[in-house]
Amino acid sequence: MQPILKLENIEKSFPSVKALDRVCLNVYPGRVMALVGENGAGKSTLMKVIAGIYQHDAGQIEYFGERVRFTGPKDSQNQGISIIHQELNLIQELSIAENIYLGRVPTRFGKIQWQTLYADVELLLKRLNIKYHPRTRLADLSIGEQQMVEIAKALSFKSKVIIMDEPTDALTDTETQSLFQVIRQLIEQGQAIVYISHRLKEIFEICDDVTIFRDGKFIEEKPVTELTEDIIIEKMVGRSLQEQFPRVEIDLGNVCFQVKNLSGKGVNNVSFSLRSGEILGFSGLMGAGRTELMKLIYGDETKFSGSFILEANPLQICTPKDALNAGIAYVSEDRKTEGLVLGMTVKENMTLSNLAAFCTASGRIEHTREQSAVQKFIDLFLIKTPSKNQIVKNLSGGNQQKVAIAKSVMKQPKVLILDEPTRGVDVGARQEIYHLINRFRKEGMAIILISSDMPEILGMSDRVLVMCSGKISGEFSRVEANQERLMAAAVGKAIGEIE
């Protein structure tokens, strides 16, 4: 089959770094091409070359059999290539229709032709099975629905090639399924799709071919039927991964933390207890109230009622500061907006919660003591950074995540809450984070692990709690837990709700 879009031996260098080294990518009509590789493998750089944001140094792009070079995002879009970025480029306060036709609304003598606009958009939405009126404000849509609007926008450009960058990262399982339905439909209509994702399961579900990059180099292109998950990981990482979830069996300690009848915004009468050394998994759909629950415990939201007991002492928590001082640390699911100060250095981020420990009574920072502590954590956490003084923004996702975790662990908490610790983290760093979690539990830390990645929850936890609409809808031991049971509890078809 002839590819619509064919990239051959593309090279792109930045000062001192060759980001792309003779990479190839073929995009076929009516097929979904998966593009996989660890963070830093060159996927985003290639996307930017296709979008015309970067100009390639060598190699060629063939589009419908002709050699082309895209001069900018507008150029590639007009020629029929749309990229849906991980962070959606939509304006929350405008309507669906205005978003889709942003900057090119049909006008007549300068007046917007609302009728034409809405009719056009309605057709597009119907094609994607979106049941909203084009006038609906975008902010009223869920993230998954907003993604659909992005796809509608791509279709409105009559795109031949749609590139999706980590489209399911923020989606619930149901939303993911409806996205897949749309993708299948587009494929039937002869559209070509490039699907970038860390989630290998999805690739086997939706993609036809797989292209693998590693360290800016092209490794392989193969039909998905000829590959297995293990082979893909091996080729991405360049080494074989013995086990995805390295578990360490230990004897659990005594109950060290108890939550009793906790209620708050989005959380309804939740009780649970946690033993030291235990990894307690929290599963559930997005919006089930897991993050809300953790923020109540951490004191970032105000609780309506309920109490905490830490090591037999009742605990008053009103602010994150109280929680940290008591020995409860929380690593946010969103490291960019809540976890890290991106413009600060590795060192400054790491000691942010615990700076007092490196200060004299008068508040003067003892720089040498701070630096040696930070260096210790960089080594311990295998953080790949040229120096302690590197700006965190310049690190890869996995290393940023490690800095965020190090910040919390530096405070030596008794309870460590990890909210989606491996989201947007590449396979190699993921493993290292699992090893760290195991290390913490061996030291007797109690760990709460929230994850939407079910294999991760099943692979790492000693016990799993499932949440549904703000309540705990299921509790499973490691032996009892499986995907079906967790899913059933997550949608509320539970084995009896625990009140």
Binding site: V17, D215, L355
Partner: protein, 326 residues
């Protein structure tokens, strides 16, 4: 596996580093260029007397700019500094006029500045009002309060021995250098130490870089906000003492537009209005550029009408060049 990432990171860090130095050097270069050019055109310019004189004239704006730098690093802004200066100046003048001991009068004035700044801080932190609006409110209120307090008339410090001692703070010399210049140096050294070597300083940068992450790191962000606005009020009060001492009187309309000069110095110094980034020494250079430019235009007999146009052009140019490099 990710050696590339590391390399890339390293590369960026060098770039960031050199870029920071480049800009700092460049603003320094701009300052030196200004000095050289004016020295050639106007022979009166490059003399010790004129240099010290210009430093003294710059000190008021520079001192306020120290407080403003801290506020701007937290991604805030303080429009009330001019008004704080007018009111605290009136306090100082009337106390000296009543023959209150200089040391006590100055201390009370500084505390007043601190508290007036804290007021803005509390509105910003606990009232959740945007800094621009909050300090616009305090600016308006304090201007009104000053007019009420002074009845719209200047307040003289009188002709007592006490008043002479007070006026030394604005007119005196210590080791051949004007007292205000010493004060300015002291304030900059303190500001530099606070921002670079204390926990509070670190928290100020963190707050400006990412408020949510800072709060979730267990830092009391409201406290940090109140601290920076208080310090900004304090620097305005210090500036008011210099002005009042120099003129031996407090003007009800003193400090009009000073907030804008301070913001200009901060921005010229490379501090980002988006918060999280900025250096106190950049602010010093920014203030000196404005100060020497004013002095040069005066020496060159440029009408004060055109001076404002010239100043505006220089600031615009500097900020555009700075943005180009980002």
């Amino acid at each position: 596996m990710s050696s590339k990432i590391v390399n890339q990171g390293h590369d960026t860090s060098i770039k960031l580093f050199s870029r920071a130095w480049f800009f700092q050097e460049k603003s320094l270069l701009a300052l030196l260029f200004l000095i050289v050019v004016v020295s050639i055109i106007s022979p009166n310019f490059f003399s010790v007397d004129n240099m010290l004189n210009t430093l003294r004239q710059t000190s008021v704006n520079a001192i306020i700019a120290v407080g403003m730098t801290m506020v701007i690093i937290t991604a805030g802004i303080d429009l009330s500094v001019g008004a704080v200066l007018a009111l605290t100046g009136a306090f100082a003048a009337s106390m000296i006029g009543m023959e209150v001991n200089v040391f006590i009068a100055v201390s009370i004035t500084l505390v007043a500045g601190l508290l007036l700044g804290a007021m803005s801080g509390i509105i910003v932190a606990h009232g959740k009002v945007q800094p621009f609006i909050a300090t616009l409110v305090t600016m308006t209120a304090l201007r009104g309060a000053t007019l009420v307090f002074t009845d719209g008339r200047p307040i003289s410090t009188g002709y007592t021995e006490n008043a002479d001692m007070f006026s030394w703070l604005g007119t005196g010399y210590l080791f051949y250098v004007p007292v205000p210049v010493w004060i300015m140096a002291l304030i900059f050294a303190t500001g530099w130490y606070l921002l670079n070597h204390t926990r509070t300083g670190r928290n100020i940068y963190a707050l400006g870089g990412n408020e949510d992450a800072t709060r979730l790191s267990g830092i009391n962000v409201n406290r940090v906000k109140i601290i920076v606005y208080s310090l900004c009020g304090l620097t305005a009060a210090i500036a008011s003492i210099i002005i009042t001492a120099r003129l031996s009187s407090a003007q009800p309309t003193a400090g009009l537009g000073y907030e804008l000069d301070a913001i200009a110095a901060v921005v010229l110094g490379g501090t980002s209005l988006m918060g999280g980034r900025g250096r106190i020494m950049g602010t010093l250079i920014g203030a000196l550029i404005i100060g020497f430019l004013n002095n040069a235009l005066n020496l060159l007999d440029v009408s004060s009408y055109y001076q404002m146009l010239a100043k505006a052009s220089v600031i615009l140019l500097a900020v555009i060049v700075d943005n180009r490099n980002k």
